[in-house]
Amino acid sequence: MQIPDYFKFFNKTRIVSGKKSLENIPYELQSMDAVKPLVITDKRSVDEGLVKILIDAYGDSGLVIGAVFDGVTAYTSAKTVLDAARLFRARGCDSIISIGGESCAFAAKALNLLVSHKTEDLLQFDSLPDNMHLCPFIVIPTSDSSGRETSTRSVIDGRIYESDELMPDIAVIDPRMLKKRGKAETILPALRAMAEAVEACTEDAANPMNDSFAFASIQLICENLAAAVNGGSVKSVLGLANGIAISGIVWSNAPEGIGSALAEELAVRTGNSRELCAAVLLPHTLDYKLKNTKKSVRGELLLPVAGIDRYCAAAETERGLLGVEAVFEIVKGMNKYIPVTLKELNIPRYILESTAEAVEDSFAKQYGKGGALMILESAYNGERVSGGKK
């Protein structure tokens, strides 16, 4: 285990996963002395009947659901949060439940900020103090969620609000909420979560606590991904959902890596989804780190990705390389369902150059001058990063 000379790790979310876990929500809310939650969700979750399942699970609890606000859209804007806040006050709610993907969780976190501070202006929260008394907040991940629900960050109108308090109190993962999705829609959130977990544990400043969460997340995803995509058995889908939820916690405790910065910038410039960019760039970022950075890639990565037998069979020095190859195998293995090279996405060259330029300066020390561009170029045609030590 790698121990940096200073690290901090914080996780506020209690994960309740498994059969009939939704039924615990009334009890859990009452133990946090809250009786009237506001449900924040989007149209897709309502149409799929997820809200109906929650209402059934609420049966006989004697409690009341303040309201179901389904106005959240893919791009969360301050207006939606203000509407939800007005509804929250009108109904006299005291806690928040978010059902759905990333945008619902972001809206719910921002709502929590607004109602706990009794204000209408979201922009005053640029720097968040740590001892805010926020309302109890429960997240219910669905198959659209890609990990950011259980993180400390909320993005409203493109502005980032980050504080440890924003983490949900409880993440309830119930198989009934994980509806079947198309193959690509199942793969992409999982690969993005894995990208964040892999990046967190291959950072120089990776700490043992975050590593254990990261390895758990990677292992859950790698083992269950193939099964979830083909068969979609309940156990594998549940395992995948847990892996994705944990990756949110890992992502909050790790510094931003070059992979996720490049993916973010590329998604903004080309309009592709963040999950797709992160998935395509993951193996190439690792490959570059293996060959061109001093610390290279640590051997322990091979264990969660490829399993115990391949880990033991590999020689000590080979493990870093084999770990990267295993990640290549997993991501490139999905080329039947999702595009795995930037060439397939037809991304023009000048956009690659301007993306690399935008990300370069903040990572130059660690990855060298042309690092970002080399990663993008090798991701363009899908081969391994050329040059550097083998």
Partner: protein, 180 residues
């Protein structure tokens, strides 16, 4: 955005499930009282418990419940469902009606249920352990083998419970449970 487009939602009731659990609790309660007279092992278990032992197993928030405890002269009695006027020493709460349903349709044994934090118990641990042993024995009496093997961690082998004792006990318990 008008407010009344998002109405308040009252939580519906689950009446049938509540009735089913109430009936099951009533049967088990009286069966415990019957078994304490019929079965030697149950009598010993209750003997070890304190004199003012009073156990209340009920479903939150306002679901059905049962109370079993020792009355003044130490006899184990089923004391209905209303906890008023009784000093409860062991309070076992099932968190929600669905959890109770899982337990009483025997999809989850008592031990698995408590492991899946379906139960919230307040009272000392030895009493709880004793009560669970009693419950297992009573279930062995009440139900045929196939069902009970779900409900109990390990079905007692013939050596622990001779066939004669089991079948005789079963008849006696049924008789006592359903005769007032």
């Amino acid at each position: 955005m008008n407010i009344n487009k998002y109405p308040e939602i009252k939580s519906g009731g689950k009446l049938i499930k509540k009735i089913y659990v109430a009936v099951m609790l009533w049967i088990v309660g009286r069966a415990i009282q019957a078994a304490s007279r019929v079965d030697r092992e149950v009598k010993e278990e209750f003997g070890r418990l304190s004199d003012d032992f009073m156990m209340h197993l009920h479903v939150l928030p306002s679901g059905p419940g049962m109370i079993v405890g020792k009355d003044k002269n130490g006899k184990v009695k089923y004391m209905g469902w209303n906890p008023k006027g009784k000093k409860i020493t062991l309070d076992m709460k099932v968190k929600n009606i669905e959890g109770a349903m899982l337990m009483f349709t025997f999809q989850e044994s008592t031990c698995v249920a408590s492991a899946n934090n379906r139960l919230a118990v307040s009272g000392n641990v030895p009493d709880t352990m004793a009560f669970i042993r009693i419950l297992n024995i009573v279930e062995t009496y009440l139900l045929p083998k196939i069902i009970t093997s779900f409900a109990v961690k390990r079905y007692p082998k013939w050596s622990q419970m001779s066939p004669m004792r089991k079948y005789a006990g079963r008849v006696l318990v049924y008789v006592r449970t359903f005769t007032f």
